[in-house]
Amino acid sequence: MRVIELKETVTASNDRDAEALRQELILRGILLVNLMSGPGSGKTTLLSRTIRDLPDLRIAVLEADLDATVDAETIEALGARSIQAHTDGMCHMDAGMTRAGLEALGTEQTDVVFLENVGNLICPAEYDTGAQRRVMILSVPEGDDKPLKYPLMFRESDALIISKTDALPYFDFDLEKCEARVKKLNPMIQVFPLSAKTGEGMAAWEAWLRHSLPKKPAK
């Protein structure tokens, strides 16, 4: 017997699949965004508003949440396509499941795909789905100490949306303190405080999204 030192994470195989999927999508000019948050943080409301505000982009949604039928109807009423992804009862989406979901969805006529990941703050952060952007949503009612409780999620995200800012007057949520905590964990992270209800702050998020689009391949 030979001893082989690996020092790899257990998910190394998934990481390779994810990287391959990411490169493929970039070449095809499709932006895949992995949306992660706890339940009820305002994902569906945010996506609805984003779809309405950006009519020139062809947006589709891959739902990994278990009770997503209501969400799918809301999204489709706005003219965007959506499909339920199969997580095989797992607590997260991985690259293989994401690829299967995208194939079922069909991505020929698509500019942006949002992956609405399973609603918890631990497992989804550990698995690369192949998305080019990882976006976390933290809603004001959840509290500004979330970064202390779930550091990995904040470290692994490219952007943090602090949602429901119209509710700030009613909650003990310190926006500056929260931002400072998050930046300490992840100095590169973009923070977008916004309210999908009033529209405040939506423009900055939408500009960042547009900026994240890969260049369309020249035909």
Partner: protein, 133 residues
């Protein structure tokens, strides 16, 4: 189903390693599991035993688990302490501005394995071959 997912990915990673390194059999797998990784080791071993027979290369392997102690950093007094013992609040200054330094990882440290015979490397995983008779 956290453990099941991890075992699934672990098995897949090992299958790929075996192919790359031309291994015929894996004897042991040493995993380093962080104290606060959220992985329940008993349950993890159960999942492993369930998956083993499904991956020929792992059939006779043993799983060795090593624990990585969890350490927290206090940003207020710039000291470190044992996470499991004291939790989120710093035992020195009682600040809550603390971060986990290590202890939530899950790493494949090493494996013990047998290599394929070089001259018959191309047919070692041919299930229909009867050369063992």
């Amino acid at each position: 189903m956290h453990e099941m997912g991890i075992v699934l990915h672990l098995a897949k990673t090992l299958d790929e390693t075996a192919k790359e390194e031309h291994l015929s059999k894996i004897g042991s797998v040493t995993l380093q599991v962080g104290e606060v990784s959220g992985i329940l080791t008993d349950y993890f071993v159960e999942c492993w035993d369930y998956f083993k027979p499904r991956h020929p290369i792992l059939k006779d392997s043993t799983l060795i688990l090593e624990t990585i102690p969890a350490v927290t950093w206090c940003d207020n007094c710039k000291r470190t302490y044992e996470t499991v013992k004291y939790g989120r609040e710093c035992p020195y200054c009682h600040s809550g501005e603390t971060w986990l330094l290590k202890g939530n990882e899950c790493i494949i440290k090493q494996i013990e394995a047998e290599e394929e015979e070089p001259d018959e490397a191309s047919e070692t995983d041919e299930p229909s071959s009867s050369k063992t008779e």
